[in-house]
């Protein structure tokens, strides 16, 4: 590492970034962690990528054809693509990478369910044969958020999908410098000189990925205040997710730009456990939702009005699927009304156990607001504090409360993850669904219909049906849409608007 340090410095441009989290895993297929996804975007390229309008655009793929029965898809790679070890990117690499992704990712699994074969035809061409016409092929392959089908060399992609990869040879515009990786503190990327960007201007994940700095350093700061001070003192250039409350200080500094980069924002979720009383009764869930007032959550958790808005759609407001169909229950926001509704239900005073992740201030605040609201609505509430990692292990438990189970927890999804009904967050399958295990066959049918829809109208109808069912069974409380700004030094330019943080096109003067 001494050599590494000596090597840079003179005349090389460095972008020093405070990432939103510590990079712990380097396998973006194995984990869904956003930080690993961002890492993936730095070092891997994708076949397709989503543009600003949430449309998939070719990225590594040069051209593709679809058979008339919409069942056979043929893709041809661009020329000159190289892995970081110098080997050319071949179709077989992409096939292996897609297969590995398909074994882990929710959307990928759905795609693989309808895929009969996926094979390389020659070095630059591969073919995908489906059993049914499927409407989300490109949307899946061009998925913008976790898990993103990143293209790895075949030897790497053949790693068991449930084991982490150990070889970090990538295909993207930056190269991972493993010698300088200090987990918990520092990750270093260097420009990959042989990367061939597309000619189009960048548009979200799509377009030309031009590395404009020689080196990107992620310097993880566990402490927000220290992180902010470091940016103010000019010790770093880019602060990915400053706490909303810190933005006034950052904004007051003329050398620093604060702006919202993610048009979709994040959606706050209050999740019920539908297996256990009292939330095994949808009416009780709906009563609880009525007690939730989005303004309270947003004010408590986010603060400054310019970073949040209420949003009564289950899809992020501002995206094609967003609507308020069936959302009345969410709009109530009044414990008194909730109390009336609760009185009509079977609720017998069973205490509601809320898991409060104390190491995440936003979710901690959400939990407190919920607790207060539910108490006012006549629920008996028991808060159980824990850290997020305990919560993630406990929320997997389907046991009754006294055996380590739970009734509620809070989280948020980034907008891009809940943009359509395919998100696991909307599952109605009590077996394979998301924690909380909402169960509704109608809901599942509507979700299945979505990718099979022939027209945009049908698609939209399916999406709205999903939303209606979600509200009908009181699957989750939606707590509002909020935006986390980025803050960076005026020396930095070339930021790409996108729900995901990218580091190409950024330059430091």
């Amino acid at each position: 590492s001494v050599l590494g340090k000596a090597a840079y410095g003179q005349g090389k441009s460095v972008l020093r970034v405070i990432p939103h989290a510590d990079l712990k895993n380097l396998d973006p297929i194995w984990t869904t962690a956003y930080i690993t996804r961002n890492h993936g975007y730095l070092i891997y390229d994708t076949l397709f990528a989503m543009d600003e309008d949430f449309k998939p655009q070719p990225q590594m793929v040069d051209s593709w054809t679809v058979s008339d029965d919409k069942k056979t898809w043929t893709f041809t790679l661009r020329e000159g693509l190289k892995f970081h070890d110098g080997a050319p990117v071949k179709a077989e690499d992409c096939v292996a990478s897609l297969k590995r992704w398909g074994a882990r990712d929710g959307m990928g699994q759905q795609l693989m369910n309808v895929t009969d074969s996926l094979e390389a035809v020659d070095d630059r061409t591969f073919e995908m044969k489906l059993s049914v016409p499927y409407g989300l092929v490109l949307e899946s392959i061009g998925k913008i958020s976790s898990n993103v089908p990143f293209m790895m060399p075949k030897r790497v992609a053949e790693t068991d999908p449930f084991e982490q990869i150990k070889d970090y040879t990538g295909s993207g515009p930056f190269r991972f410098v493993s010698e300088e990786w200090t987990p918990g503190s520092k990750v270093v990327y260097e420009k990959f000189e042989d990367y061939v960007p597309r000619d189009e201007p960048p548009s979200a994940a799509a377009g030309g990925k031009v590395a404009k700095v020689d080196r990107v350093e992620w310097l993880y700061f566990p402490d927000q205040t220290t992180a902010m001070n470091a940016l103010l003192a000019g010790e770093v250039d880019y602060f990915e997710q400053p706490a909303n409350d810190l933005t006034p200080i950052l904004e007051s500094n003329p050398d620093i730009t604060v702006e919202v980069n993610d048009p979709l924002g994040n959606i706050g979720f209050a999740r019920f456990n539908h297996l256990l009383p009292p939330f095994n009764d949808p009416e009780v869930c709906r009563a609880a939702i009525m007690a939730m007032k989005q303004e309270d959550y947003m004010a408590a958790g986010v603060g400054d009005q310019k970073y949040w808005n209420t949003c009564f759609s289950v899809y992020p407001c501002g995206t094609p699927n967003a609507s308020e169909v069936g959302s009345d229950v969410m709009k109530v926001g009044d414990p008194a009304k909730a109390k009336e509704a609760l009185a009509k239900t079977s609720y017998d005073g069973t205490p509601v156990v809320i898991m409060q992740p104390t190491d995440i201030p936003l979710l901690s605040a959400f939990s407190l607001v919920t607790a207060e609201a539910l108490r006012k609505a006549g629920f008996k509430v028991e808060m159980q504090a824990m850290d997020w990692s305990t919560l993630t292990s406990r929320r997997a438990s389907r046991e009754p409360v006294d055996k380590g189970g739970w009734n509620m927890f809070h989280t948020w999804w980034i907008g891009a993850d809940v943009i359509d009904p395919m998100s696991i967050a909307f599952s109605g399958d009590p077996e394979k669904g998301w924690f909380g295990w909402a169960s509704d066959e109608e809901l599942e049918e509507a979700r299945k219909a979505y990718p099979l829809a022939k027209t945009e109208e049908e698609k939209l109808a399916a999406a709205h049906k999903v939303q209606e069912r979600l509200w009908a069974i009181g699957a989750s409380g939606h707590l509002g849409q909020f935006f986390v700004p980025v803050a960076y030094s005026k020396k930095v330019s070339g930021l790409i608007r996108s729900p995901v943080q990218f580091f190409w096109n950024l330059s430091v003067s």
């Binding site: 712990k24 380097l26 084991e163 987990p183 918990g184 520092k186 566990p222 992180a227 993630t392 997997a396």
Partner: protein
């Protein structure tokens, strides 16, 4: 002497074994489950079960312990669940900042505290003594992080004197190194200074009542020489001892200080690992710190004979 050292080293074996067993049980009997953490947000129950199986978490506890100890004895502290890196590598990466911070803290504390304590003892009851005592009580009373924040606010933010955060290796130049390490050192030193000053004062006061100090006075020796040559030399053993005991305090303080000043050291590693339930790191680090503590105290015990010729092994 050699025999003594050998015996002492052997005597640390049961202690280390106690630590190992304790650490192992503590982690295994706790409710957190690393498998579900690893599996991530979207994982299903089967995913988690599979990961548990891979990690060997389904084996009987005694078997897990034996497996672990077996590997441990080969100098392998295990592999971090999340980063997939050997714990020894992680420790190696992180040890320099922690080591440097500890060293600067010890050196700075000793340089400040010993003269302070000695003078306080000499002028026992005087204003300066009162001040030292007050400082040492206060040093035990102010939480490290509050102090850290105040220092950052005043010295870095308002006066713009020193960098806010981070660590620079002395290999990259001593200037930046000292600039970065100054505030953390001051923060961490306060409690250490309090501890050492207090102990120095107490033992020097005690030594000053010894007969041989009276002898020195009877020779007509002046008070200052008595303080340095007779009192401090004899107070060295308890002072060194308290430094050894203080190592535990130091390690604790390092955890907080490193997180306040964003120093990529072992303290932060352990905190992150605990929050992430990275068992191998937690186990490895607690063992490592205990080992360091035991070794330092062993060295200190052995060093007694250097300070006090009566102690011969």
């Amino acid at each position: 002497m050699l025999r003594y050292i050998l015996m002492r080293v052997l005597a640390t074996v049961p202690v280390m074994a106690v630590v190992a067993l304790f650490v192992f049980l503590m982690l295994r009997l706790s409710p957190g489950d690393p498998a579900s953490v690893i599996a991530g947000d979207y994982a299903t129950a089967e995913d988690i079960a599979r990961i548990r199986e891979q990690l060997g978490l389904n084996d009987p506890i005694p078997q897990q312990f034996l497996t672990w100890i077996g590997v441990l004895l080969q100098g392998d502290l295990g592999t971090s669940i999340f980063t997939n890196l050997p714990v020894t590598t992680l420790i190696a990466q992180r040890i320099e900042p922690t080591l440097m911070l500890s060293l600067t803290t010890i050196v700075f504390s000793v340089l400040v505290a010993v003269p302070l304590g000695a003078v306080a003892a000499w002028k026992s009851g005087s204003l300066i003594d009162r001040f030292v005592m007050l400082f040492s009580v206060a040093g035990f009373s102010v939480p490290v992080f509050v102090l850290g924040y105040v220092l950052i606010y005043v010295i870095s933010m308002k006066l713009n004197l020193l960098p806010v955060q981070g660590y620079r290796s002395p290999a990259d130049g001593l200037g930046p190194f000292f600039a970065h390490i100054a505030l953390p050192t001051m923060t961490l030193s306060v409690i250490f200074i309090a501890l050492i000053a207090r102990m120095t004062r107490a033992s020097v006061i005690e030594v000053l009542q010894e007969d041989y100090v009276r002898t020195a006075r009877a020779k007509g020796q002046n008070e200052f020489t008595i303080l340095i040559r007779h009192a401090l030399a004899n107070a060295a053993v308890p002072i060194v001892t308290v430094i050894g005991i203080g190592i535990a305090l130091l390690i604790g303080g390092v955890v907080v200080t490193e997180s306040v000043y964003n120093i990529p050291g072992l303290g932060r590693l352990v905190l992150d690992a605990v929050l992430a339930r990275d068992y191998p790191i937690i186990q490895g680090l607690i063992l490592f710190f205990s080992f360091v503590y035991i070794v330092i105290n062993l060295l200190i015990d052995i060093s007694y004979s250097f300070f006090d010729p009566r102690i011969r092994y």
